[in-house]
Assembly symmetry: C2
Homo-oligomer: 258 residues x 2
């Protein structure tokens, strides 16, 4: 158990861009109780996962600076933002926690793999810092963030005080609800997307093109220990995530056949 | 144990683009023994991870078609390619294996998180198909792929015949060597990148910009069971990977404090 810092120092990023309502709400909620360094993409980067920018230079500019709150906008991906902060912008300060979010849209179950918000937390964990991702299951740009307020402050302080082990982070998803029934610690549910490529005709007669859409199918709707079950029952879903992806149970069987 | 198919049907993608030498070598090696459907990005997509295209339409075109080999070039990411293939291009055929690669560059340890080649295998596994990613630890565009030839055929047939469990795939990395000392089943090693943002001055005086570079530091160089150790000792590293990222060991401790 590490000591709870009087005023924690938080590094924040997201995948919806520095002007997104989810990030602005996070700043509003956390700036009274913490010092914040925000390094976020200059625009939307939904579905970025852990993408890094290998083929172009990255720029960033300070868009706001006052006591306890500095905001940078970066041309790169969410993961680039964390790498840039760690290598260039922290200048020796050690964040007590790295936060991704609040994402507009559900990052539970397999969606965690596609999520730039989880990219932030993944990179934070890889860099050796306690990290947490916040998402709300509501794509509406006018989504109501108010019910999240007390949970975010509480989870932020707790994530710091409990001291997450190396290579782990927390994936926190909030249901779309006026009131939550509490917090549940979950495992990542099993789901799969179907009907993902909607075909449309080019209006100029140049063949057709596709939009990535689809239906997310819960493959185990009866299992009460998954993040998806918690969300479907108006609980806040907290899933501890590890970035050591080794399938340990397969090592011995594979050693016999390969 | 499922039966080894006489002539397997393979779905192949990569993150270096359909014209990349690694992919062309894979086609050369596998087309005599398997039917191939290739759906790959039209150009390089290094560092794509599991990125999906949410903000633009996706197009694809058939660039080559003969008996047993069809190649599509796609404007999207490696994961988009697999989604497009599964939803639109397979037309009811069931791939015996989904393959990503051969990637130019090391995808061992934490690099797996940033890799578009692993994105292919991740998506394949999420879609419910046995999947495998091949990478060589050599960024040289003229890299010598010849030593990989027998291993690729052998691993392809074995990955099919052993029947990988759901939500798992194999991450195969080849060392840069004339001859390999054999195959080792590994766990994902722990490493971290440092000095990642190289700062350069804009030639027109418009501030500075950054290039993502860096040094990959092995955090456990003495551990003989990691992928990085195997590669450093000229072994082919086969790491079984799971996409259920739950940190199960944390569920109970977190239930007590959150």
């Amino acid at each position: 158990m590490s000591k709870r810092p009087a005023k924690p120092f938080l590094l924040i990023s997201n995948d919806d861009g520095y002007q997104a309502r989810g990030l602005q709400f996070l700043i509003e909620v956390l700036s009274p109780v913490a010092d914040l360094l925000v390094v976020a993409p200059e625009g939307p980067r939904s579905g970025s996962a852990c993408r890094i920018t290998c083929d172009a230079p990255i720029r960033c500019r300070c868009v706001s600076h006052r006591r306890g709150l500095t905001v940078y906008a970066c041309t790169g991906t969410p993961v680039d933002c964390i790498k840039l902060a760690v290598d260039r912008l922290l200048k020796g300060r050690v964040p007590d926690l790295i936060i991704g979010g609040i994402n507009h849209g559900d990052n539970a179950s397999v969606n965690a793999h596609y999520s730039g918000t989880m990219g932030v937390a993944t990179e934070g964990a890889i860099q050796g810092y306690p990290s947490i991702a916040f998402s709300i299951c509501d794509w509406n740009p006018e989504a109501n963030f108010e019910p999240l307020r007390p949970y975010i402050v509480d989870l932020m302080f707790k994530a710091i005080s409990i001291g997450l082990p190396p290579l782990t982070c927390l994936n926190v998803n909030f249901p779309k609800a006026e009131k939550f029934r509490g917090v549940r610690i979950c495992r990542m549910g099993s789901s799969r997307w179907a009907n993902e490529m909607q075909q449309r005709k080019d209006p100029r007669g140049n063949g057709h093109y596709y939009w990535l859409v689809g239906d997310c199918i819960d493959l185990e709707p009866e299992a009460e220990d998954t993040d998806r079950w918690a969300l479907a029952h108006d609980f806040v879903a907290v899933t501890p995530v590890t970035f050591d992806c080794t399938a340990y149970g397969l090592i011995e069987p594979l050693q016999k056949v390969l």
